[in-house]
Structures are given as structure tokens and as C-alpha cells.
Symmetry: none
Subunit: 403 residues, 2 copies
């Protein structure tokens, strides 16, 4: 169970405690009392991990090999069945004029009807039988997947990053034929998207309503879908993922876990934690060996620099932990995927606390669960990539190396 | 700030305390109280690091890739502007007779005039346009650099190691043409050095004075100058080095740092610590982002097996730490580059204590700075190669890996 971005640095306003140290977390503290604690570097000491690279590492995959870019994980996260070798992109629906100038990168923050627009994009035919798979995500966001031969992820973005600029011609980032070809295809997709979308009935209606039309798609964040050994093959465990954001769901999906969607899970501090608890309990009673749980609100509060929200959300997450007592015969690991300090408003490379509960643990004398107390625990300092090995070993499911 | 060789093992004569534990170090202890402590393996646990390989690691370079031999670092340390691919050697000025027998490997511990002799050596011309760069160091020591095409560092030493032996013909250590060629050039250099130096006016004068002439040079410690990304490119930090020994200065120079020379810095326990303090304070007020400081006396006392000297020098180093309070807006890291236990009189692989001070640190409850108390600190156990990553992260200067 990963409380996203929960770890922090000492804050003057909290008497030089971290939000986790200042928060009342009786259930997490109970885990600390009855378990073994430590601190954990998601990748290695000092390295600032993303949520994606951290979870890849925690699941035992090497992010330096697996993480080719954000596109593949976003695409998988919205439910595209990506295949190894697919080239995936994050996209915005944007508003362009006839000169290609981007008036509004977020197309008036469109919320409805993007599924219809996506259907139109999917009707585009491309050279050399390259297949196009386009799917809307939340709001103005979408993903684009190219599937075919001789493609490359070494291409630049079409997104000009700022309103008022012409969309950027996609360029090959290396000298390969594959990159040249892929850049050409992307430019074709962007141009055709404008031709197809500009007079789309939904956009005519938006214009009538005084809203910016979603008349062009702008890909960015290219990545080739990596070769990844399925989680079930790697560990012999049937895994499910209960997460709020597409990014984490995407990672779980790419490694072949089942994705449990939770109604009302917003990824914010307003998320429906009751539904998440119920989802976890329901899933744990099913035929799964492993659950990956990610709750995102503390990270959001950290990015916002909101101490009160972060502290309160941690206390809510603690209640979630308390309600999971009903889970039986599980090893329970509670940690964060990185620190998102209030003072920094972004991820940092500070290590995160970690606790393991379950049978036959070498229980240590740590009494509370936080960044500093956990550093005195029996696990000392480990890495994200150690967790699955430790867990497999505790479950007596790993293979002896040697005689 | 690296107190060279400061760490040690418990000594019976100190009531089973280490010199650092037994010494009065109120300023280092204050750093511990207000900072976060840990122990650090310069390379990895149990590996006996040199000062050079440890510093290479601490600066975030892989010594297994970068450290090709001592020659390049010594050459850079005495001010030769070495270039990638140069083959560098440590040399002695020695005394030979006409039969090539080495009478005195240290040429009567010559102290003066070696610059004149070096000038003579630099007049040697070599086959195939190979350039020779020869520079005197302290006493009978010097460095030799060969620059040209098709050279190799896979060559043996000319130094026979003992007086009374003929100088050793340099041999190729592999079958490559490059090694054969380089061995040939080196033998030529040694022979020509004798021809040029034997009747040199300075040596005639030495003979008149009953001193052994410095009439031959004997290279050893071959190493190819490695490819090293400049420190400023790697981290975006402008760095300066305040060190006493050529070896540490050489490492700093090879990674492109500015070298600050300190008058009276001997590298021994008699060094002028006042000048070193002033040099640090002056340099910290200049336009630098990073200072690498190395003070060498504790290592010397360790090599000598002198408990009293080591303990006293540590106390003097503590005063240096106290005088650096005037430095502002710096993260301050205090550590050692390796242990040099009194009982061993050489470096060992025991981990060293480390403390980090600065804004937003997760201050731990360690109250004194030494090998054992630091092992209970919030950093737990890290490696030399982690330090720059941790520092860059604390300074919010690192790039996030992922989203």
C-alpha cells in the first residue's frame, strides 16, 4: 500500500516535524509497533523518482530499462491494450486556427464528448498499414498509440507548450529511418486531426455555445512500449491494482495485473476513501495473491504546498489502514513512493518510511510510523527494488540461489 | 569536507574507543546534533579505498571506470593539463651508474633544481611525433606524460623498486602494437634521460658536493587519462578544491574544478590549518557552488600508527570545523574518505562517519560525531557514490526521473 508522496521534510510551522510526524496516525503506528520498519529509496539514495518510475522499481522492474517515456503508461492506464513495440504518446485536445496557431492548448477544458472525437480520430488511415489507436482520457487529455513496423519513439512533441504559438512540426531525434517515418506519420496525424475535427458536429455546437472547439490533437511524451515480463510470470503471483490515477493503473496493466476501478476515486484529497476501502476488502477476498494499492491525495496536497490538507489526508489514509484489519493472511507493506515536501511542491529524493507486517517478521522496537522513527527500524535502509524480493522470501515463494 | 583517514578501529590504549571517539570534538558534535548522520562506504562495504578512488566515488564517478592508475591523477595534481588518452606515469629522479645499476632510487633525496632537470627531459624528441611532457613534483618525485597516437598504458615500470638493481626494461603487458610501441618509447626516454642528465651542470655540482646525482628518470604507475564528464557539466555546479596533496588536487583538476593552493599546506600534522581555514572562507565567498576540502594529517598519523598525533590532529581539525561557522547558505557535509586504523597503519574498508547539515534536513538524535554514534543516524548506511545525488536533491537541483 503506497500513500503517494506522503513523506516530507521537517516544517517550521509543525515545530520541525514532518506532516506524517505531526499527524495522528494510530493505525500506522500500530503497524510500526507490530512490524519491522526501515527507510526506502525508491530507486537509489538522492534520486528524485516519479510516481511511475518508483512503482516500476517497487514492483521489481528496472526503471532505467523499462521507463521509455510517459506515453506507454498513460495509454495503458486509460485501458488501451498496448503491445510491446507500440509507440505511445500523451495528447491534448487543443484549439487551433486555420494557420495552425494554437489558441487554447486545453480546448476550453473540454469535459464531454471527447469519446466521439476519439472515434473520428480512429478513422484516420495511415501509410504502410500503421495502425492508429486513439483514446480519450479525463478532460482535454487523450492518448495516441501507433502500431506497425519500423516505428521509433525518438521523435519530438507537436505540443508547442504555450498558447499563441503554431503547433510544432514533429522532428526525428535521431538519424534512423524509423524516426523519420514516425515523425512523418505524426505530422500527418496532427494535420488530419484538424481536417477531421474542425467541422465535427460537437465542435460546431461548442462554437455555437461560445466554447473553444477541440479541433486538433497534439502528441507529446513519446515512448515505445517496453518488453516487460508479466508480474504473474516473474513472481508466480496473481496481482490486482487498486489505484486512482491512470499512471499507476498503466504500470499495473503493462505488467499484466488486473485493474480494479473504484467509483469516486478522484486522485485528490476529495477522493472517496470509503469506496477505496470497500474495493480493497472486496478484492482481497477474491482469488488474488498480491494487491498494489495507491492512494494519491497526500501527493496532491504536497504539490499544492498545503500543509493542512496533507496532514489531514494522511490522517484519513490512517483510517483506511485501520479498516483493513479485516484482511487476513496477508503480508502488509505500507510505504510511500517518494517524498513530496510541502516546501518543494514537487518530488524529492529523500527516502520514505516503510513497514512490513505479517507472520514471522523480526519485529523491531519502532513505536511510530514516520520518516525518522522508521530510520531506526530493523530493515535499516533498503531500495524499492528490494521489496518484492523481501516479500517473496517472507512468503517462502522465492527460489534458493545455490545449494 | 573530508578529513583524510580520520576513521579508525577501537584501540585498547584508548579504552576501546577510536581516536575520533576519544578526541574532544565539540564542533563536529554540534554538526551531529543539528544535522543528519550516517555511516558511509566510500566504494562499497569492506572495499579498501585509496584516497583517490574514494574521492572519485564521492564526487559521483565510478572508480572502476575512471581509475586507470595513479599516473594521470599525480600528473594533473602537479599542474599538467592532461588530456583524455594521454598516458601518464609517476617518476623518480634516481641515481644510476654507467651500467644502468640504480645506486639510489631517490637521488640523494634531491630537493632543489629538479625544474632545470625537467626542462632538459622535455627537450627529448621521440619517434612518431609522440609528445613528452615532464614535470617535477616535490623532492625526487616527478610525472611523465606521453601524448600521441597509438599509445597504451599496458606497460610495466622501469623502477626496479630496490637500490642496487639495474633499472627494469619496460615491457608491454598485452599483445597490442600500442603497448609494444609505448614500452619502446619509455625505454628510449629512460636511456635518453641518462644521456642528457649525467653531465648536466646541476649533477656535476651535486657530485662535487658529494651528493648523488639525479641522472636518470624511472617511470611507474602507468595510466591512460580517462574520459571524465566535467563536474560542472555533470551537476551544473562550479566547483573548487582546497586540498593539500597532489593526488586529491589531481582528481579535482581532472574533473575540471578550480584548484586553490594554500601556502604552508604540507599534508602532514604540521600543516598550516590557519591558512587552510582562511583559504576555505575566501573561496566560499567567491562565485563557487561547491567546495571539495581535504585535510590530510589524520591519515598521515594513521599510517605512522601514532595514536597521540592522530587524536590531536582530529582535535585541530575540529577547530577548523568550528571556524567555518562563518560560511553561510551552504550545505555542509563532513566525512572521511576511508579509515586508516592505527593498528593497521594503512587504509581499511571500515565505513566512515558522515554528517550533513543545512536547510530542511531531517535532523536525527545523534549527539556526537564518530564512527559508532553516526551509525545510529537517520542516513543509516550509504555509499560514497550516493553523496552527490543526496546533495543535489537537497539543493533542489536534480532532475526528476519520471512523472
Amino acid at each position: 500500500m503506497v500513500i503517494d508522496g506522503m513523506a516530507d521534510r521537517p516544517l517550521e510551522e509543525l515545530g520541525y516535524k514532518t506532516p506524517l510526524e505531526a499527524a495522528k496516525t494510530p493505525n500506522m503506528d500500530k503497524l510500526a509497533k507490530t512490524g519491522i520498519c526501515g527507510i526506502m529509496d525508491p530507486i537509489k539514495p538522492g534520486i528524485r523518482a516519479g510516481s511511475d518510475t518508483s512503482h516500476i522499481s517497487i514492483l521489481g522492474y528496472d526503471p532505467y530499462q523499462v521507463y521509455t517515456g510517459r506515453g506507454p503508461f498513460e495509454a495503458a492506464g486509460v485501458g488501451v491494450d498496448v503491445l510491446e513495440g507500440d509507440i505511445a504518446f500523451r495528447c491534448n485536445f487543443s484549439t487551433a486556427n486555420d494557420d495552425g496557431i494554437i489558441i487554447d492548448r486545453r480546448a476550453g477544458r473540454i469535459r464531454e464528448g471527447t469519446d466521439e472525437l476519439a472515434e473520428a480520430i480512429n478513422s484516420i488511415t495511415l501509410e504502410d498499414n500503421t495502425e492508429i489507436i486513439f483514446k480519450e482520457s479525463t478532460g482535454h487529455r487523450a492518448v495516441l498509440v501507433l502500431r506497425g513496423k519500423n516505428l521509433s519513439d525518438q521523435v519530438s512533441a507537436a505540443d508547442p507548450k504555450y498558447d499563441g504559438k503554431k503547433w510544432t512540426k514533429v522532428l526525428a531525434l535521431d538519424d534512423s529511418k524509423e524516426a523519420q517515418k514516425t515523425a512523418g506519420i505524426l505530422n500527418e496525424v496532427v494535420e488530419k486531426s484538424y481536417q477531421i475535427l474542425k467541422d465535427h458536429p460537437l465542435n460546431q455546437k461548442r462554437l455555437e455555445n461560445g466554447e473553444n472547439p477541440a479541433n486538433i490533437i497534439l502528441p507529446r511524451g513519446a515512448g515505445a512500449v517496453p518488453h516487460v515480463q508479466a508480474f504473474s510470470d516473474k513472481y508466480g503471483l496473481k496481482g490486482a491494482c487498486i489505484a486512482e490515477t491512470g499512471l499507476i493503473k498503466g504500470i499495473a496493466k503493462i505488467v499484466g495485473m488486473d485493474i480494479v476501478d473504484i467509483e469516486g476515486a478522484t486522485g485528490g484529497i476529495d477522493t472517496n476513501l470509503g469506496n477505496i476501502v470497500q474495493g480493497i476488502l472486496d478484492t482481497s477476498s477474491e482469488d488474488y495473491d498480491f494487491l498494489l494499492i495507491n492512494i494519491d491525495g497526500a501527493d496532491e496536497a504536497g504539490h499544492d504546498g498545503n500543509t493542512k490538507d496533507k496532514l489531514e489526508f494522511i490522517q484519513k489514509a490512517d483510517e483506511v489502514v485501520g479498516k483493513l484489519n479485516a484482511m487476513e493472511d496477508f503480508y502488509f507493506i505500507l510505504t510511500a513512493d517518494h517524498s513530496t515536501p510541502i516546501s518543494v511542491k514537487d518530488h524529492t529524493g529523500d527516502p520514505v518510511p516503510l513497514v512490513i507486517n505479517g507472520p514471522e517478521i523480526r519485529v523491531d522496537d519502532v513505536e511510530s510510523f514516520n520518516e525518522r522513527s522508521a530510520s531506526k527500524g530493523g530493515l535499516c535502509r533498503i531500495r524499492g527494488s528490494d521489496i518484492m524480493n523481501i516479500l517473496m522470501d517472507l512468503m517462502n515463494k522465492s527460489t534458493k540461489f545455490g545449494a
